[in-house]
């Protein structure tokens, strides 16, 4: 990761009072893209493989190849003592992962809970597209945004069902019955 060194360099420049605009821009750009990729993955991980595939069906996909064919494995899930203390190992989860490279060079990674290798591959493809100058906007508009909207609707519905079970307990004065 050449760019992470540039982050260090950027801070040193700042400390010396020499602000280098070009590096600054590149770091911001890098961080923005990282945030964008992460946001897209957060949506894709909650979608079914079929839903992602359906959104990609009408998409004019560029040439791409599997850099890592889908592979299943485990990730040890961690919690924290008391919820906010030192970490401990809670138990494992199945995870599927894949990597895809576009002909234009962008490498996308797909990770998801479960054992659906095709879903991991589709997430990797989307991640590569998100990074692409030519397809980044379109994949956000045609794939990520509609899936995000569906996810939000599902979550809102679940939250509304939960909210109906909110309760007020009253403590009674003894003898009031």
């Amino acid at each position: 990761m050449a760019l992470s060194y540039e982050v260090v360099y950027y801070h040193r420049q700042l400390r010396c009072g020499k602000f280098c605009q070009r590096f600054g821009d590149r770091v911001t750009q890098h961080n923005n893209q990282q945030a964008q990729r992460k946001a897209a993955m957060a949506v894709l991980a909650h979608a079914e493989a079929g839903e992602i595939a359906a959104r990609l069906r009408d998409f004019a996909l560029p040439d791409h190849q599997d850099l890592r064919t889908p592979e299943n494995g485990l990730v040890m899930l961690r919690g924290r003592v008391g919820g906010d203390g030192a970490p401990f190992n809670l138990g494992e989860a199945t995870v599927s992962r894949a990597a895809v490279r576009l002909a234009s060079g962008e490498v996308g990674f797909g990770y998801t809970l479960g054992r659906d290798g095709e879903k991991a591959r589709l997430i990797a493809l989307c991640d590569a597209l998100v990074q692409s100058r030519d397809f980044g906007g379109a994949v956000e508009r045609d794939v990520i945004a509609p899936l995000r909207e569906q996810l939000m609707i599902r979550r809102k519905q679940a939250a509304a069902e939960t909210a109906a079970t909110k309760v007020d307990f009253y403590t009674m004065v003894r003898g009031e019955g």
Binding site: V75, L77, R80, G85, A86, E92, A160, A163
Partner: protein
Amino acid sequence: MYVAVKGGERAIENAHRLLAHKRRGDHSVPELTLGQISEQLGLAVDRVMSEGSLYDRELAALAIKQARGDLIEAIFLVRAFRATLPRFGASEPVDTGAMRVQRRVSSTFKDIPGGQILGPTFDYTHRLLDPALAQGFVPDALVTTEASTAPTPRVTDILGRDGLIESSPQAEVGASVGDLTREPLNFPADRDLRLQNLARGDEGFLLAMGYSTQRGYGRNHPFAGEIRFGEVEVEFSAEDVGFAVPLGSIALTECQMVNQFKGSATEAPCFTRGYGLAFGQSERKTMSMALVDRALRARELGEEALAPAQDEEFVMSHSDNVQATGFVEHLKLPHYVDFQSELGLLRKLRKEFTDAQAPDAMKEAAE
């Protein structure tokens, strides 16, 4: 010592074939699907995931089906499966404070920020068998209300702000997280290992241990500070990607037990705590776990540790139902050679006993 036996192949094969038929049961009854188990026996799936120590609803449902509903056998199957997959690494610790809460109750404060939310619970039901469920039951339409966007902080965080409760122990810089699936257990064990052991421990065992503390064997005066159930996001720092990748979300239950306070000449008194966390909706499990976690802190808190629930070697060595069932159930496997040698020894001892008696008997007869 166990000496292996050979033979019986045909009988074993036929027995397994018979088992497969018994598992399927009466063919006029439709076969169970994994979806039906996962959706309609969800709490059994949660238990198998927790104690099988593997979050995968579909695999847990398959294990329950294969085990004919024997949950400990299902847990065994899941544990065996996890040994077949490579481990990619460990997740970032999940943030239960950011949980999308589906249930959240506190028995210590009635007015908590974010409110008390009953969610899907057996609490306040009358525990009467419902004949309506026997066939074709359709539940009443769901009621919805506008959800508030207010955060739901952990109750212990609220108490913590005033210093009324001890804060959670923080990790030392560079400390590794203990993993009992990788290194054998050594005693005394640190809290991270104890919690990992309890999280995969048998619910019945932990329930009995927790109950014993309430009945006076290592009493620690507990309140259920908070129990919450809902979904948390999981992130994994994948080296190839270069940042923490979202993996999706998992359902968790967390129990914060608030226990008897403690102070000293140098520290103001404050409540102590016990912690429980498990996959899925596992309230009884996490409450028991929190009671036992607190009991196991006896040494650290300078309490006299005389009760079984306070003895970490006893608790941690006997909490795992796969280990326990393996050792108990191995007794039914052929021990013929073993038993023959015992039998030989016993015959010899009996003969010696009779021989020793014999002169006396002869003497008596002579008299």
